[in-house]
């Protein structure tokens, strides 16, 4: 595998009047991890699709080792040694790892049959070389997302990729899987493979990149070394100074608004998602629930909204029992809810922005009189909210599904905090959002707290918990393993997140005790 230097010069790509890529120059040295940093819509993916042969540039050239190459299709790019791992994997779920890897380049034995053994050995060999720990005979649909991603990487490597493009590779990974991915990327790099790492997450880029190129509105705005601070990188990305951690004054907590006692949630299969959870959230404070994704946080939120039956325990809001209330009764009782999966649970994608702005109040005055919808009021409401929350949309009649993630989240936020509410439950409120939107959402959440609303934040991003929470609760396997003030060191939170008991986590770490 000869090491290859990749150079893009003056790449311009237009879509009608839009300039998606404006004279972009990029050089990737052999064995370099080159991060492309930019907000959603900055032109990162367009550039990579040009490089991968999915799009033809209007101007500019691609050079490999100084020679101009033209890619008319991904096949040309693959033959030239470029591999790409898309954000959404392209794997056949019911095939094995080996079958997926060999799909399209099947080796046949002299008898004309598929040479399964060779493929399996190839997978094993690559897996060993890069520490991928892949079982060639495992069925892909049974593998966790992080492992599926490795299958994609092996697919590229088997096809002799010398430049590997990873498109937002960590978007779907847990923190631990991200760690593993970084280890693999380092090994690839040591083996001479260049990696183009597309991301909008500053910490990751700092951790993994040798060189950072920042894109904004289709143009390169500058390059940075990984030693650049987060604030510097964020400012380059957004084009203005961004508050990565919103400033907030001390909390002035009032009476308990939400009270949860002994909450136990099980599903139809008898699996226990929440086990004897008790806590309260007071007016004017933010309780942050930390924990690795999948430890019952989603189910906790759903149970608190009446979307999941509660097996045991009590939930009350301002003294009113809501344990077995319907979702609508929860909403009417004064809970604003930002669900974890905004497209699945928060919005009707084909509905207009205006309709989504009233999705849970459409039958209330002034939006409806009796059975009649007051379309004029709904429209006026949308116009006001769009202005107030700076939602970037063509019009109030645009289907919400065509908006960017940040703007979709603003629609939900505008709708939920626009209702009378005493409690705000926000689950992963900034997942998948870019820096600018995160700042906006955080500011709004803190503003709610300062108005005296009780706020419950669930996040698997510790940065977010630290940035917002006045008190932290940690969840592990459906239990709350401990409550901590936001001044708690991250190591102690980490122990609680891994299942340590309150006392174990609080005990000072003694050297080499592990």
């Amino acid at each position: 595998m000869a090491d290859v230097e990749l150079e893009l010069t003056g790449i311009t790509k237009r879509f009608g009047p839009l300039v998606a890529n404006d004279r972009i120059n990029l050089t990737v040295a052999p064995g370099q991890v080159h991060a492309l940093l930019g907000e959603n819509g900055a032109g990162k993916s367009t550039l990579m699709n040009v490089l991968y042969g999915l799009l033809q540039p209007d101007e500019g050239e691609i050079l490999l080792d100084g020679k101009v190459v033209q890619f008319h299709s991904p096949k040309d790019a693959i033959n030239a040694g470029i591999g790409m791992v898309h954000q959404h994997f392209m794997l056949v779920p019911v095939f094995t790892v080996a079958e997926n890897v060999t799909l399209g380049i099947e080796e046949t034995a002299p008898t004309g049959l598929l040479d399964r053994r060779k493929t399996r050995n190839d997978v094993r060999e690559l897996s060993r070389r890069y520490g991928l720990e892949l079982d060639p005979d495992a069925t892909v649909e049974n593998l966790p997302v992080g492992i599926q991603q490795r299958v994609e990487i092996v697919k590229a490597l088997v096809r002799q990729a010398k430049v590997l493009i990873l498109d937002e590779p960590t978007a779907v990974l847990t923190p631990a899987e991200t760690e593993d991915l970084f280890r693999i990327v380092k090994q690839l790099k040591d083996g001479g493979t260049s990696v183009i790492f597309i991301s909008h997450k500053l910490k990751e880029v700092q951790a993994i990149a040798d060189k950072i190129t920042v894109l904004r509105r289709g143009a390169v705005v500058g390059q940075a070394a990984p030693t650049a601070t987060e604030d510097q990188l964020a400012a380059m990305m957004v084009g203005r100074d961004v508050q990565l951690v919103v400033s907030k004054g001390p909390a002035r907590p009032g009476d308990a608004v939400l009270q949860v006692e002994g909450l136990t949630v099980t599903d139809a299969d008898g699996r226990v998602w929440n086990n004897d959870i008790s806590f309260s959230v007071r007016a004017g404070e933010i309780l942050g629930v930390a924990g690795v994704q999948g430890n019952g946080q989603t189910e906790l939120c759903e149970a608190l909204m009446g979307l999941r039956p509660i097996a045991a325990g009590h939930v009350s809001l301002d003294g009113r029992d809501l344990t077995h209330a319907t979702p609508r009764q929860h909403l009417r009782a004064g809970i604003a809810y930002i669900p974890e999966d905004r497209q699945e649970d928060g919005l009707v994608g084909d509905f207009t922005v205006a309709e989504n702005m009233v999705l849970d109040v459409y039958d209330r005055k002034p939006y409806a009189s009796g059975i009649n919808l007051n379309l004029g009021v709904i429209e006026a409401n949308a116009a006001d909210r769009i202005k107030e929350f700076d939602v970037r949309t063509q019009s109030a009649e645009t289907p919400v599904g065509t908006l960017s993630g940040g703007n979709q989240q603003k629609v939900i936020l505008a709708r939920e905090v626009g209702r009378e509410h005493k409690l705000l439950i926000a689950s992963q409120p900034t997942r998948g959002l870019d820096v600018g939107s995160i700042e906006f959402v955080h500011k709004r959440i803190v503003a709610q707290r300062d108005r005296g609303v009780a706020v419950l934040i669930v996040s698997s991003e510790l940065d977010e918990i630290y940035a917002l929470a006045d008190r932290i609760a940690v969840m592990y396997e459906g239990r709350i393993t401990g409550f901590r003030p936001p001044s708690v060191p991250v190591e102690e939170l980490g122990k609680l997140m891994a299942g340590a008991t309150d006392e174990e986590a609080a005990a000072p770490a003694t050297g080499g005790s592990e």
Partner: protein, 438 residues
């Protein structure tokens, strides 16, 4: 601003994969959606034209004189082409004259000495006869078409127009001959009874889905069998619904229960047609102007988000199926009370299936359903005249109907034939609104 545009060509990867994951809908549902929503009006009209061209060719080249003429094509090519043209056009002219109006009847009208004699002798009726028949034929198609289109908006596929029609027919007919009431009241009671009879069958489907998760497609298809044979059963015994005699047919509904002819005895058009139009308006109003319709559309597009927003998804399933069943039952009432007066084991005809094609052609929207029902109603109304005038078999109408729906169901085919650009290709506007970020 560009990332969304950029993923466009990667349809197989980003865009498609995301869609597949994000929507809790089956593949069949996605295909249906693309049929109903992926079409522009242009495509629909071109589909109709294409179907008529093919129907015309089919008609011409199954005609004995035309085949003979083409056998001697090289001797006299013009004759062959003219023959084919004449036969194809002749059939459509016959269809048109049977469905819309016939110039000869207009000419005859003007030869009369005065308007009053013209009316008295039925000449005026002859002019409007075809239109009247079209309306009569369109009425049940329109109502059952709405019974498919309305649940479609709520995400349910109602194949059960037939069973709901039968449910309505049984109740309306029984009330029609078994009860005596004053004229207008009797007719209204029967119409309402028809609604109720269909609604019960429809509601059962929605209720089963809400309570047990039984898929509405399976349940409606099976109920079609149940109701079909239940009807045959009822008509086999005189202590049930059979009229005196040996035939499996009910007694005729009394005069007080019949829907009067709107424009004199020679035109069959009756208030049933007005009921159907009112229902189309009602469905439109319900869907776009009411909280109930908002809920229907929301659960049709995203049941999960609707549930989170406090909508009772299950109750809406039952409600929308109840209304749909009611609409199909109304169709039965208009047929029994307006034209047939008796119920026989075949009274449900092919309304259930025809209604699905009407709803598809009408793109699931009330206005579209009205237009599609009028088109198919015209085809049905004109067919007998076409056969009488030109000897073209009436089956050509069924073929036309099927071809139209087939082309509507395959928009890429029509677009390719007429070199249209795909309607859903990412327009610049869409790209613009996607790209912005705070």
């Amino acid at each position: 601003m560009s990332e969304q545009a950029a993923t466009g060509p990667v349809a197989g990867t980003g865009a498609a994969a995301t869609d597949g994951e994000q929507h809790p809908r089956g593949r069949g549902r996605i295909i249906l959606d693309s049929i109903v929503e992926g079409n522009s009006v242009t495509v629909t009209i071109l589909a109709i034209i294409t179907a008529m061209v093919i129907g015309g060719l089919l008609n011409a080249f199954t005609n004995k004189p035309v085949i003979d003429a083409w056998g001697k094509f090289f001797a006299d090519p013009w004759h062959a082409i003219n023959m084919a043209w004449d036969v194809a056009i002749g059939a459509y002219v016959g269809l048109f004259q049977g469905a819309i109006f016939n110039p000869h009847t207009v000419a005859a009208l003007f030869q009369q000495s005065s308007i009053s004699t013209a009316i008295h002798n039925g000449y005026l009726g002859a002019v409007f006869g075809p239109l009247s028949e079209t309306c009569v034929q369109a009425t049940p198609l329109l109502l059952v078409g709405l019974a498919v289109a309305l649940p479609y908006q709520a995400g349910l596929f109602n194949i059960g127009g037939q069973s709901q029609f039968i449910g309505g027919a049984i109740v309306a007919t029984y009330l029609g001959f078994g009860v005596s009431m004053p004229p207008v009241v009797h007719a209204i009671v029967c119409v309402l009874g028809g609604f109720a009879g269909g609604a019960v069958i429809g509601w059962a489907v929605g209720y089963l889905k809400a309570k047990t998760g039984a898929h509405e497609v399976i349940v409606t298809i099976m109920l079609n069998y149940v109701m079909q044979y239940f009807l045959a059963y009822l008509l086999s015994f005189q202590y049930l619904l059979q009229a005196a005699g040996v035939n499996p047919i009910t007694p005729a509904v009394s005069g007080s229960a019949r829907l009067p002819h709107l424009f004199g005895p020679s035109l069959r058009v009756n208030p049933g047609f007005l009921i159907a139009l009112a229902c189309a308006f009602g469905v439109w109003w319900l869907l776009t102007r009411t909280t109930t319709g908002f809920e229907f559309r929301a659960i049709g597009k995203n049941p999960n988000a609707s549930r989170v927003a406090g909508v009772n998804v299950e109750r809406n399933w039952a409600l929308v199926m109840l209304l749909a069943g009611g609409l199909a039952g109304l169709a039965a009432a208009t047929v029994i009370q307006g034209t047939d007066f008796q119920l026989n084991p075949q009274s449900y005809g092919t309304y259930g299936i025809d209604a699905i094609t009407v709803a598809l052609l009408g793109r699931g929207r009330p206005v579209g359903v009205v237009l599609a029902a009028l088109l198919f109603g015209a085809l049905h109304a004109g067919a007998p005249n076409m056969q009488i005038a030109t000897g073209t078999p009436v089956q050509i109408v069924q073929i036309l109907q099927a071809l139209i729906v087939m082309f509507v169901a395959a928009p890429p085919l029509v677009r390719a034939m007429y070199r249209l650009r795909a309607a859903k290709a990412a327009g610049v506007g869409q790209v613009l609104s996607k790209g912005w970020n705070a």
